[in-house]
């Protein structure tokens, strides 16, 4: 039976209209036309603007309320295409591929705040506004292509087909404790000329797809992409006329323009201006990652938008309902807990709904496996900026049915001083970027005294922070996009951010790094050898820790940013992965592959519950035991830690069988030390799996090929080195 709602009720000029449906918000393809729906609590006037793709002026301006003709009789009729606070109508016979759309809103009863001045309302009947629910956004279709700065509508809403041939794809739903996360930037991953991806695909979703075999071989099973929501790479950009180069750009992308649209400039197909094709390219990447057993987590920025403060541009939210979307001061300024000018009013019911809708959309339409929330503590603040005990947004996310299997990860702090690592409202669901464990790892790595006790917490997955939540609440990392790369952590004492043109004032000062004797690059073979060893030490510490390890793109090949700890603004070699390093630093790459494989091979390293430090099964050994240079005698005051895991306490022992004993000794003292080994049961022997003081390939051995130790009682650990033994039954 044919639908009866495909016929127009009203006419406006040549356009055939019907009252729309309020849900879903945004522009939706419906039989015979497109349904437009947009919320504003305070606007009394709203009109829809239709543009032919890329054209500056609209070819139609259709009011949601006003004088129309009845379609049947052509008699004048005043109509109000609005339900509650939602303006909604269906326009029939539109070619969705060829149009772009926007809205204009107003309420003459409210004062109109000028740009540059504080205020509560920013209605402007002359300004075209992007749809907050736009599924594709034009205007920055090709990365770095100079925009028309005079364009009054620079970020243009587009409509896409939301279908895709997933070929049976299902999210892998890998248990959190089994993840090894790789933090990557879409453009930076393959933009470098050495990437070898096909022409036209460098720095794109399609380019990343070509490198999936590399990720697979590395052993990671989860990619965390830095922001891929549409953002404006030209925000705060700076062009150098002399060199003809952009010296600053919004490269990282932590400034969202639209929460539902992928960054068109990250798609090789972006230049087609076809939003559906951009979506398909990203979906194809997701499908291929899943096909290789790799999950994908998005780094999402809901804490603020690209509209800045009172001086910033009006793109969408400000002009639609300023008071709803933003936290404002009593004077009408924007609260700035993000450090970027504004703070999204996340716990407002409307904004909360938008965030939920966006995440459900990404989970269901793009098969995204999880989300890492940038400056997530802002999501726990109320409209006045005060932290809430029970933030409705965070609770709703935790219990949302569509997001039920998604990983939820908080960057549990904000730029307003709220630091919630260990105390983020979690509802038993949220994990956190564990900044405290990173700092401990780094201090311990550089040999600081008195870190052994704190390090024991890190190795157990920070039970002191996450006691009731389990180790998977802890996303462990030693480096991420913020701060030094791992190589720079062992090559620089201080930050060198001069290239950011902020007088080296930006970025963290507290990097807990040590340059191994020389600041920056050096030809000294001793220093370079020590740096390599320190990198191996660091990744070994990370991979033998309970919790969820995350490594930063390029750390596996010793990438450097030359001491720049805050490369948010550089679209150049500082951020692009140099693929020639896979050859130059093949020793490191091999080590990373092997130590990740070691983690995958030993489920005792990947528990979902904390160790009890007791032998509650009566096996003769506690699940975890602590040692020092003497077995069973830990010294918590120094810079040496040794521990042993009992493979009988592995998770799901019935399913997978018992694991080996694993013994790890970390000697961050400058000189070699002997470590007395714990005695194993008689049928077991110690085998060497990792010894970072040895040259490659003796530094790490593949699972099953670990040589038996000649001396089963003692191992000499070189200065600043880590060794890992497996205690396995004799054949």
């Amino acid at each position: 039976m044919d639908r009866i709602d495909v016929h127009p009720t009203h006419l406006f000029q040549e356009f055939k209209l019907r009252p729309g449906k309020p849900y879903p918000f945004g522009a939706t393809l419906v039989p015979g036309g497109i349904n437009f729906s947009v919320f504003s609590r305070n606007a009394s006037y709203c009109c829809l603007l239709l543009f032919r793709r890329g054209e500056r002026e609209p070819y139609a301006v259709i009011p949601f309320r006003g004088q129309f003709l009845k379609a049947a009789s052509r008699e004048p009729d005043w109509a109000d295409f609005r339900i509650g606070n939602v303006f909604t109508m269906t326009v029939l016979d539109l070619d969705h591929e060829e149009i772009e759309y926007g809205f204009r809103m107003d309420n003459p009863a409210y004062p109109h705040s000028e740009q540059g001045k504080p205020g509560f309302f920013r209605f402007d009947p002359a300004r075209t506004l992007m749809d907050p629910y736009a599924k594709a956004i034009g205007g920055r279709d090709e990365w770095g292509k100079m925009p028309d700065w005079s364009d009054p509508y620079p970020h243009r809403s587009r409509i896409i087909f939301d279908d895709f041939d997933w070929e049976g794809d299902r999210p892998p739903e890998i248990p959190k404790e089994d993840l090894v996360i790789y933090e990557a930037h879409v453009r930076g991953f393959t933009k470098h000329p050495s990437s070898g991806v096909r022409e036209g695909r460098a720095g794109t979703f399609a380019g990343m797809r070509e490198k999936i075999p590399y990720l697979k071989e590395l052993g990671i099973n989860c990619v965390e992409l830095m922001p891929i929501y549409e953002f404006d790479e030209f925000e705060f950009s700076k062009y150098d006329e002399a060199t003809g180069r952009w010296v600053k750009m919004n490269y990282w992308g932590y400034s969202t323009v639209g929460f539902f649209a992928p960054k068109a400039g990250f798609a090789a197909t972006g230049k087609t201006g076809d939003g559906t094709m951009v979506a398909d390219e990203l979906k194809t990447l997701v499908k291929e990652l899943h096909r290789h057993g790799i999950e994908i987590i998005l780094d999402v920025v809901f804490n603020h938008t690209a509209e800045g403060d009172h001086r910033g541009p009006v793109i969408s939210y400000k002009g639609i309902d300023n008071q709803t979307y933003y936290m404002l001061t009593p004077e009408g300024y924007y609260q700035n807990f993000s450090g970027t000018g504004n703070s999204l009013n996340c716990n407002d019911p409307i904004v909360r709904g938008m965030i939920l809708d966006a995440l459900r959309y990404w989970a269901s339409e793009y098969h995204i496996d999880g989300f890492r929330f940038d400056l997530a503590s802002i999501l726990s603040r109320n409209a006045f900026g005060a932290p809430m005990d029970n933030p409705p947004l965070l609770e709703a996310l935790a219990f949302d049915p569509v997001l039920g299997k998604c990983k939820l990860i908080a960057e549990a702090w904000d730029a307003g001083g709220l630091y919630q690592v260990g105390s983020f409202p979690n509802y038993g669901r949220w994990s956190e970027w564990n900044g405290k464990s990173r700092d401990t790892l780094r201090r311990f790595l550089k040999g600081d005294q008195g870190q052994a006790g704190a390090m024991s917490q890190v190795l157990q997955g920070s039970p002191g922070l996450y006691g009731s939540r389990g180790p998977t609440a802890s996303i462990n990392f030693i480096s991420c996009h913020d701060g030094f790369t791992l190589y720079d952590t062992v090559a620089y004492n201080g930050k060198h951010n001069e290239a950011n043109l902020q007088n080296n004032q930006d970025g963290d000062n507290d990097n807990n790094s040590w340059n191994c004797g020389w600041e920056g690059e050096t030809d000294d073979p001793g220093i370079n050898a020590l740096r390599r060893r320190q990198i191996k030490n660091a990744v070994t510490m990370l991979m033998v820790s309970q919790g969820v390890p995350m490594i930063l793109q390029g750390d596996e090949v010793g990438s450097t940013k030359y001491g720049n700890s805050n490369t948010y603004c550089h679209d150049n070699e500082l951020n692009w992965l140099d693929w020639s390093l896979t050859e130059k630093n093949s020793e490191l790459l091999r080590f990373f592959k092997q130590i990740i494989a070691f983690r995958h091979a030993h489920s005792i390293l990947r528990n979902s519950h904390y160790f009890s430090n007791q032998d509650w099964k009566g096996t003769g050994y506690a699940d975890i035991t602590w040692h020092g240079t003497q077995a069973w005698n830990a010294d918590w005051s120094g810079n040496v830690v040794a521990f042993m895991l009992n493979g009988q306490y592995v998770k799901k022992k019935e399913e997978y069988g018992a694991d080996d004993f694993i013994y790890v000794a970390m000697n961050m003292h400058w000189d070699a030390l002997p470590f007395e080994l714990p005695v194993l049961p008689p049928e077991y022997t110690w085998r060497m799996a990792v010894n970072t003081s040895m040259a490659s390939p003796q530094d790490i051995f593949a699972h099953g090929e670990e040589p038996v130790l000649d001396d089963q009682h003692q191992v000499i650990a070189g200065g600043r080195s880590v060794f890992v033994l497996v205690g396995r039954k004799n054949n």
């Binding site: 591929e97 060829e98 041939d165 695909r201 559906t276």
Partner: protein, 113 residues
């Protein structure tokens, strides 16, 4: 260049569909109609001769997916003489696994059963 399309069926059951011009939201219905005819004619293979096709938008891609789903996995689809832009579009959106790309029509391949 305006969009043109045609279908001829070989005696051994290959639906040869020739497309030229731009395949987008305003023209994809024609292509979809030809696929429908190929299905009605119980095509054993579909050969898309795209030498004259300068552009394929997402609406065209969807007809390819539609064809694959309607024809079933036993009916191979060949994309022949496709221009670089069209090849790029197909590969970047992941459809290259669903079709076989050929530089030219080779009866020994397409019509060999």
């Amino acid at each position: 260049m305006s969009f043109e399309s045609s279908l001829d069926m070989t005696s051994n059951g290959v639906a040869r569909i020739t497309l030229s011009g731009k395949l987008d939201s305003s023209t994809y219905r024609e292509f979809e109609g030809l696929i429908g005819q190929a299905i009605a004619n119980k095509a054993k293979r579909v050969a898309l001769l795209l030498g004259g096709l300068s552009f394929m938008a997402s609406a065209g891609l969807r007809v390819l997916v539609f064809a694959k789903q309607k024809l079933g996995s036993s009916v191979d689809i060949y994309v022949i003489e496709a221009q670089e832009q069209v090849v790029d579009t197909i590969t970047m959106t992941g459809l290259e696994h669903s079709v076989t790309m050929l530089d030219s029509y080779d009866a020994a391949v397409v019509e060999k059963f």
